[in-house]
Symmetry: C2
Subunit: 141 residues, 2 copies
């Protein structure tokens, strides 16, 4: 994986880099890990998916659509996503309050990136379950 994405996402190689082995700057690596840890989170992924599917949504609509999320986690995750530039939060100064959330372009691009993982999960559900059964059987024997 290292090899695959290192080249593709970086600026083109410069001459001075020629002899340097395929190792990423550890600081960059740390940042990437932090970012992935942040973003590859259950709630973030569900919100991302819901907003991608439904477009612009209000707080309680999101809550209902996701169904399994608590208010606390929803607020928390939305704030974090807003902070990271993944969603835009629009407050309408009315009463009762009205707040709408929608994906930014950055958010949409992340959704697209995760698409491969969703596809993988759907395509390999059965295989994983077979593996689990096989593992249980082997454990008994």
């Amino acid at each position: 994986m290292q090899r695959l994405h290192t080249r593709s996402a970086e600026a083109p190689l410069e001459k001075t880099e020629r002899m340097i082995p395929d190792v990423v700057d550890p600081r960059v690596e740390a940042l990437v890990h932090e970012l992935i840890g942040r973003v590859a989170d259950k709630w973030t992924m569900l919100i991302l998916e819901t907003l991608e599917e439904k477009g612009e949504l209000r707080f309680t609509q999101l809550s209902r659509d996701i169904g399994t999320i608590s208010q606390k986690m929803l607020t928390q995750t939305l704030r974090q996503m807003e902070r990271d530039g993944l969603i835009k939060r629009t407050v309408h100064a009315v009463v009762p309050p009205k707040v709408e959330y929608r994906l930014t372009d950055l958010g949409k691009s992340l959704g697209a990136a995760f698409c491969g993982v969703w596809i993988w999960a759907e395509a390999n559900l059965a295989e994983v379950h077979e593996a689990r059964n096989a593992f249980e059987q082997a454990a008994k024997a």
Copy 2:
């Protein structure tokens, strides 16, 4: 996202499904969520990356390569990945013990699926940091 992956990973549409809106069976959705939650985990992703890069590795080699993982988490995550069919664990009956880990085809395919996310993270590091700074500024004002 729903729309994108629903069609691509499922069996071709049958006639009786024509009028059914683009909604996934909630049980399947729950399974997919569980599986993604399982697999989109920090340690799993790091082990996946390391094994993809280095091929077959022993326990302590993995531990050293990842650097920040505790023995407990390494064992735990490796077991889980083995259970899910992502890695193959080979025990050599020698003393001191020798155990080698390598990715299965399923594991490799997951690595490939995550590739998009790694690329996204690398490509958008700067943008996320700008967004964070902007958010802080806005919070102060």
